[in-house]
């Protein structure tokens, strides 16, 4: 059962991410990316990361993708030009490199020591458990994240202002 769900959502994620890369229309590419985010959130649930699956939907599929779509529509982009033919050598090289990298990663993954299936704590992946970790062991990264987001807010407002006088 779990294996079947994994295969279904993995197939959706692969298909929609490929469609995103191959899609000419930016809006269609963005919608395909939303679908990829949704199927990844389903995989997060399979991995007992319930809190992060919800965050993935709220932040990525919600906020970030709305931002992308807003900018695409704001700029009213036309479909981009076809790639010039002279780059086909580069394309072939890229595909060969990707296949080689994939084979290497597969080799690496198979050489990994087999992880014994461990019993998970009953609160594994819940909001409470993550909250406890964030405010104890990982307090500094958490606070630094808030500083980063403040810098991003200020930076985005300054950059998007009409004129820098």
């Amino acid at each position: 059962m779990e294996q079947t769900v994994f295969y279904v959502f993995a197939a959706i994620a692969l298909g929609s991410s490929l469609a995103m890369v191959l899609q000419r229309n930016p809006v269609a590419a963005a919608m395909n990316l939303v679908l990829t985010m949704f199927s990844l959130a389903a995989l997060f649930v399979l991995l007992h990361a319930h809190f992060l699956a919800v965050i993935q939907l709220l932040v990525y599929a919600g906020a970030v993708m709305v931002l992308f779509l807003f900018v695409i529509m704001f700029l009213n982009l036309t479909e981009e030009q076809l790639l010039p033919g002279r780059k086909s050598i580069l394309h072939g090289a890229g595909i060969a490199l990707a296949v080689y990298a994939l084979l290497q990663i597969r080799e690496l993954v198979h050489r990994m020591p087999a992880a014994r299936p461990r019993a998970l704590a009953t609160d594994f992946g819940t909001t409470k458990a993550i909250g406890k970790l964030l405010f104890s062991d990982y307090l500094l990264p958490f606070e630094l994240t808030s500083v980063l987001i403040l810098a991003a807010i200020v930076g985005a407002v300054v950059l998007a202002k009409r004129r820098l006088d």
Binding site: S17, M20, P26, L47, A98, A119, F124, G125, A152
Partner: protein, 100 residues
Amino acid sequence: MVPIEQYLMLSAVLFLIGVAGVLTRRNAIIVLMCVELMLNAVNLSFLAFARALGDMGGHVFVFVVIAVAAAEAAVGLAILLAVFRNRETLNIDELNLMRW
């Protein structure tokens, strides 16, 4: 339980699709979307390892990565808006002022 190897391979393939998109696409917004896809692929392997090792540290990493990705998208899109206002294009082949 699904073996961790399958999650890692899926994550690697998604990451490589993102890399291919960054290297081949000419539209700067789609390049940014491919970067988001790569970040998500890495999140998947973090969570797979967290599940296999029974350690929730990976969840905190993913939490921080999502926050950084959101900040990156906001600043990146603001930069693209400024670029479009000045150059009237988002084709990264035409934005070659700093090309050697």
